[in-house]
């Protein structure tokens, strides 16, 4: 019963996220509204973390699998892509690498500056 209850709470928050997505004219998906809502509910203790924790971490653990259908769906966009696939792949890989390195190094640098001595 515990898992049913937890899953119910998570789905209810997702549903509220969907409602916000319909009501507000911003390009923000229901899942992001839901995430922020869940965070607010946890902080205000409307939802106790014990009441979503087990199922929540289970869902996070199996998250990579949820991307399989969308990634297999790349097959479908191939006709639109095949003319520019090489620049496309180079841009995607180069830009992702650049963002990852810069974001990580800047964070690390500022955190160490903040912490003082330990470099």
């Amino acid at each position: 019963m515990k898992h049913v209850k937890e899953f119910g709470v998570i789905l209810a928050v997702s549903f509220c996220g969907e409602i916000l997505h319909l009501l507000l004219p911003l390009p923000v998906p229901a899942s992001i509204y839901g995430l922020v809502l869940m965070l607010i509910c946890l902080f205000t203790k409307i939802i106790k973390v014990e009441n979503v924790r087990t199922t929540g971490y289970f869902l996070i653990e199996i998250m990579p699998m949820m991307f399989i259908p969308a990634a297999v769906g790349l097959l479908e966009t191939w006709p639109a892509l095949h003319r520019m696939w090489l620049p496309f792949c180079i841009i995607v890989c180069f830009s992702t690498l650049a963002v990852m390195v810069i974001a990580g190094r800047v964070t690390q640098m500022v955190a160490r500056l903040h912490n003082g001595e330990d470099a």
């Binding site: 399989i68 966009t77 830009s95 992702t96 390195v101 990580g104 964070t107 955190a111």
Partner: protein, 230 residues
């Protein structure tokens, strides 16, 4: 034979899960980071569909169920974020600076590449939202007049790239701090990368979740403000 697949509600999920299981088993057997379970499962599924001549629609009839779980799973990313909120309070300057630098690097690197390959404005705005989560990225590409199908492809490819290479990149570029790793992964490769950050550690995962949300919102805000010039 195909009609069995076409009428099945479970075939798509079963083949995806089996492929993922095979990916995990291969990674364990050869103890190699490059054998990424997500990548292997996608390739195996595509191969299977090709060999049996099953079209994507038939597969996605059932497999959609997995995508359906994505919204509740994303909502649950709030839980590690809540549990590690003290870190965020303590390091908010570093985290904020990292995310901002990442978002700017993303826009600049795509612009430089677009110039290098002589791509037009439409391709530029198509690729611009590649580092942010699909739901936000689609909205942004539509708003700026890009091609949504290609944006989705770029977003997913970005995520898979991040998922596969996150560990190596952090090692090679000496990003050792778990908070910095979280920011790096969440800012560059959104939810698919965050799935990897979760495996790396709870701090990485929590900060990565935060970064994907903040980077997504920052990109939308920035692009909407600057849309007249880009």
């Amino acid at each position: 034979m195909n009609s069995i697949f076409e009428n099945s509600a479970f075939f798509g999920v079963v083949i995806s899960l089996c492929a993922y299981g095979a990916g995990v088993a291969l990674q364990k057997r050869f103890a190699c980071d490059w054998l990424n379970p997500l990548l292997i499962s996608v390739l195996l599924t595509i191969l299977f569909l090709r060999v049996w001549r099953i079209d994507y629609q038939t597969y996605s009839n059932g497999a959609e169920l997995l995508g359906w779980l994505l919204t509740p799973a994303t909502v649950c990313l709030a839980i590690p974020l809540y549990e590690k909120f003290g870190l965020l309070r303590r390091y908010w300057k570093a985290i904020g600076a990292g995310i901002l630098a990442g978002v700017l690097t993303g826009a600049a690197s795509v612009a430089v590449c677009a110039m290098f390959f002589h791509l037009g404005h439409e391709q530029y705005v198509t690729l611009l939202p590649k580092s942010i989560t699909t739901g936000i990225g689609i909205g942004l590409a539509e708003e700026l007049g890009g091609s949504v199908a290609i944006t989705v492809a770029a977003i997913i490819l970005t995520g898979i790239f991040g998922n596969i290479f996150a560990q190596q990149v952090c090692r090679v570029f000496k990003i050792s701090d778990p908070i910095a790793r979280g920011v790096a992964i969440g800012t560059s490769s959104h939810a698919i990368g965050t799935a990897k950050a979760m495996e790396m550690g709870p701090v990485e995962g929590a900060i990565s979740s935060l970064s994907l949300v903040v980077a997504g919102l920052l990109t939308v805000a920035g692009a909407s403000l600057l849309s007249r010039w880009i």
